[in-house]
Symmetry: C2
Subunit: 394 residues, 2 copies
Amino acid sequence: MENFDFRKTKTIENSRAHCGLIKTPHGIIETPNFIFCATRGAIKGATMEQMEATGAQCILGNTYHLGLQPGPDLIEKHGGLHRFMGWAGPILTDSGGFQIFSLGCGGVVDEIKGKRTCSIHPKSLVKVTEEGALFRSYVDGSHCWLTPEISVLIQQKLGADFILPLDECTPFHMQREQTALSMERSHRWEIRSMQQFSRTFEDRQRMYGIVQGGVYEDLRAASVDFVNDQPFFGQAIGGSLGGSREQMHDVVSMTMQRLAQDRPTHLLGIGGLQDILAGVEFGIDTFDCVHPTRIARHGCALVSQPENDKNREHINLKNRQYREDLNPIENDCDCYTCRNFTRAYIHHLFKAKETTGGLLLTIHNVRFMVRWMLKIRQAIQNDTWIQFVKTHKK
Amino acid sequence: MENFDFRKTKTIENSRAHCGLIKTPHGIIETPNFIFCATRGAIKGATMEQMEATGAQCILGNTYHLGLQPGPDLIEKHGGLHRFMGWAGPILTDSGGFQIFSLGCGGVVDEIKGKRTCSIHPKSLVKVTEEGALFRSYVDGSHCWLTPEISVLIQQKLGADFILPLDECTPFHMQREQTALSMERSHRWEIRSMQQFSRTFEDRQRMYGIVQGGVYEDLRAASVDFVNDQPFFGQAIGGSLGGSREQMHDVVSMTMQRLAQDRPTHLLGIGGLQDILAGVEFGIDTFDCVHPTRIARHGCALVSQPENDKNREHINLKNRQYREDLNPIENDCDCYTCRNFTRAYIHHLFKAKETTGGLLLTIHNVRFMVRWMLKIRQAIQNDTWIQFVKTHKK
């Protein structure tokens, strides 16, 4: 029996949408699925026991943050990240590249979505050379190198089921020529990552490749060809995805048309319901984003049908209109929060600055995402996918 | 069948320590027991589902805070506080008196423990008359009266199983004469509270009396006589308990010697392990305090045997010594946190400013208190109480 496997269990004519199973030593990920972010080794606003109860199947940990605090050696002493943070299911760790550039440039999250211009005064990034990235630790101010080899070694100590190679994350506003140079460097780093991974290989981990190339079709094509040629277990779409939802969908679409279809594909950092709908149609298997847990802490609940603004995907329970609303967040939701509490209660908790409000919304939002992905898988399995997209697309 | 009942199930020779059962329409409280504080309708750092899982049996809500935000009418519309905050077990609400004087004087919590002089510039208390207390709402700045009648009416809307009459909470540093006048006013307020409670009585609630009298033995005696003569279901010991642990124990001891023994007795605002041990010996049935959940948020875990300072009852996991400590908080603890996580992991979470650290410590501290009370009950039931006190008293 192989420790790892990927197979499609259902495909659809004239669509790349499919259901699949990703097998890992820590259990199976049914795809399409959503991966929740435990950046620093914890889901913000929920225990792992609560995560498990929602039906979540996979958690993402962050190499950069965990590498600095508490450090890979301490996590290794625990027997790895699974034991350290009390999550028995599959884990993916990213390489740390995104954070170095994000913290260096002041928000690549907005950057890859085209919302912000990169700061010209990096905050923690000292320099990037062919060797890797030199940055200042936010824990103790010391200078640290993150090279492709170091990132792999850290991730092997963390022991996630899936790991990613270090890449250079280029901002949306970068010109074509710079994006091309950066992409080529990322490819060289990916090769070095694979080499390091092979040297210290253990059969409890697999590596995903990362497709770069920004918003440029020819660069994305070149990067897809590179990734297709390497012996990665899976593949992730990284880098800038454009300045609008339309451009993001275009970039993902063109990338997916060329990308090998026999591997699981992850779309990095995307978690909007509509974006997931489009991504699944393009053939994406997994998504991750801090969005569901982040908006929970700010009083927002994911809903299928927002009453006020049909273009949104959530309601803000801090709004006065929910002060006396005796309904649950959603009538048909089976989460602990919706089974037991009213919108008025959650409104009150935020008004009273009780953090339990955020805890209850986190439970709802996580369960909402789990159910959203379940509905998507069911629609594909039941041959109602095309209808499902028509009904839910905005 | 009565909705409410109290009976002792085990008594001990030459000791007032006993086990008892308090029957309510929402279930039974086994005594001695600890009541956890959900001041604003939520336990800070845990959902009610998690509270239930720890074995907690009773929750305290706060009339003053809930009366201001979200207001008694909205809670009544929910069917009461049980439904509002999702707690199916017994609930006690205090009268709001403590908070008015606490917020007015800047910290009666420290005050009753003798740690702070009352500020001469009240923060929200406008005036106290025979009618009641006039204060400014911290929600909207409006002037609000809290009278004995209003407090009862609010508590009837909240619908807790046990309610308390409004009392004037006098600070430790108050002179005997003032304490006597205040006590007498509290008695008049307790009579008015009972009268209001009788007028609007529903068989789903019972009222506790409150013994005042500060640190003065003759005043405590007079207050006990007053409470003994009134038809309260139970009784609480309130007011200043002195400036030191010894004085507090003296005040509780002298009060308990005179207080009727056929009613359940609550000791307000006390939650130290040693104080509980002493209180149980004096015949106390229930205790409440924010201590276990508050120190959790600040990185502290209750433990039976602190390694460093034997006089403390907790360890601070933020301390550097726990950075690489692969042990659980306590080896013999059966809580979710101790079964799954190391001290090093919790240390890391606080270091990384992940609020999950506080959630995990809350679960541990609540379970710790539940088990502490369980051990106390078992010792009494098994006739090993005297030995138990010898072993655990510091």
